[in-house]
Symmetry: none
Subunit: 187 residues, 4 copies
Amino acid sequence: MKEKMTEHSIRLFEKKGFSETSITDIVESIGVTKGTFYYYFTSKEQLLMDIHLAYIDELLNEQAKIISTPGKTCKDILFDIVHMLLKSIKTKKSSATVFFREMKNLSNEKLAQILPKRDEFRSKIEQVLICGIESGELRANLDASIISFAILGVANWSYHWFDPEGEKNEREVADIFMGMILHGIEA
Amino acid sequence: MKEKMTEHSIRLFEKKGFSETSITDIVESIGVTKGTFYYYFTSKEQLLMDIHLAYIDELLNEQAKIISTPGKTCKDILFDIVHMLLKSIKTKKSSATVFFREMKNLSNEKLAQILPKRDEFRSKIEQVLICGIESGELRANLDASIISFAILGVANWSYHWFDPEGEKNEREVADIFMGMILHGIEA
Amino acid sequence: MKEKMTEHSIRLFEKKGFSETSITDIVESIGVTKGTFYYYFTSKEQLLMDIHLAYIDELLNEQAKIISTPGKTCKDILFDIVHMLLKSIKTKKSSATVFFREMKNLSNEKLAQILPKRDEFRSKIEQVLICGIESGELRANLDASIISFAILGVANWSYHWFDPEGEKNEREVADIFMGMILHGIEA
Amino acid sequence: MKEKMTEHSIRLFEKKGFSETSITDIVESIGVTKGTFYYYFTSKEQLLMDIHLAYIDELLNEQAKIISTPGKTCKDILFDIVHMLLKSIKTKKSSATVFFREMKNLSNEKLAQILPKRDEFRSKIEQVLICGIESGELRANLDASIISFAILGVANWSYHWFDPEGEKNEREVADIFMGMILHGIEA
DNA sequence: AATGAATGAGGTTTCATTCAT
DNA sequence: CATGAATGAAACCTCATTCAT
């Protein structure tokens, strides 16, 4: 039941926004009453926090798996991370949207739990870049920090437009993205 | 007075979010009464619409100026657009945040005015890419559409993290971004 | 201008109700601004009072003319009064509706000016009835007071349904009404 | 509680008018909070609609009982209907006032539910008249439609003045009314 | 004679939350 | 586990009115 509520909430939050979705909206969407909601969640914010945590923890988890897999070049790792982000936008578009858009609805204390994880994710990318520079795979004069933001921008921005049912699937988009990130677009 | 109200609203919307900012918050921030707000705006949504229109129209305007300036290569144009986006995030960070985050608070009719403009901006970038491909400046095998989203992602994502007072200014960040976009990061 | 404003107000009050019609509605309907309204009227209530006074004074005036015309039987007078009420509903339907429906929006002091006039109108009808009873024109056992209310009811209720453009004109309806009032409907 | 709220609302609407009565007025009159009101009613208009429906349905119901009772002449039926209307004005004066005066505060969709019922009530009276004409009880040359409005006017107008505590009770007034309606007032 | 900026009180409605059952 | 009645604070918005110009 808690799971079911969370699912429905994510969908509603994506469509209408967190503030614009009322507890009534949520409980009516699954045919129970408000009391039931407060049996499973202590507050609306708690529910939002659950969604955030589930999303970022999953991302960090996937990222860790990618990084720790032996026998990969840094470029392989970067590709896998970008690909994984697109896959997550494909399968969890609603969660992604809520995650990127509704963060400000968390209280400062809750934010203090989420923000470090967000930065950890980016920071791991930066480390991969540095590792690649040191190993000679990547250009020596890169600003690893700014480039990590650039790569995140390329991948994450997809939640604004990427359509999993569209012409290109997430693998193809990841290929195109990595083509540009690695080799640029200049002739 | 209307201008003043809009300014303060943008700042508040950025900090607290559109839905979380009340008319009371706005009018108290400048020491007038609610009636005054409704003397100048027909609704809260109208104010949000004004902000959106002002932002996107300004972007389109700047973009048009860049594109129509004679004697530029396509790469110059791309650089100028990315640079311009970063400048606009620097000087109008609040507006940018509101623009990218609070779009769902517009009614469908209002959205129908904004979305085409947003896509026009992206589409212009795609045209520059195509033009560059045809002239031989850019690689022939690019997917101009997806790449236009990638470039937008790199630039626009900055509103999440770019600090105009930080270590790098908008010119330097634009240089780094264009370095990656044009030449890639591979050694 | 004052006249024009009153006319438009009556029409708006009829259609939307007094409370539901704002000063803005009124001034916009004639293309001036709110200041202008307050140049001519001291308050919205004052305007309503003007409408009430104009209506009831006109009715009393017409009634007085009918009663004072020499050489009429009481039945003639009753007919003329009923006919006059129907004519007034025909030509001043909006005023009539406002008069009968929006009285409660007058303050007690204003009501104290209107109510005696309303009762004076009815009372005059009662006097005509009494006069007719004494002269032998009307049945001796009538309750003149209650019958005066009955006659008023027959005539005034017309504002709910009488359509001057309809099948019967006000003269024909007055004839039918008086037929019933004088001779009843029994075979 | 819902019943209690409706009762108090009717009383307040009668005294101050629908628009002039605020939700605050209503809930304060029974010592609950505004939230409670909206727990039972979806809107203020819904409450007004409830009142209208309850009133007209009750009238139609009573009318149907009168008409379907066997062994009555048409004149009996007419008397019973007029008497019933006066009784309803006696016992439900507030509802009657609200019903006759506040109809314009219903939206068009709601009106479309009420108006047919109102006309059904009048139409039933017309049918009784026609039946009486055909049976020879009533004069052959009556305009049944207009006369039905006249009878309704006589009876319904009472809500403006009838005082159940006054000199005459509703039975006596009904007798006087029917005396005029059946036999007229002429000597 | 008319305007337009500003007010402030009050309107209807929404909603997260509580709690006895 | 779940309900349903109730709360109360706060939301957006309207509007009669004032007043300097």
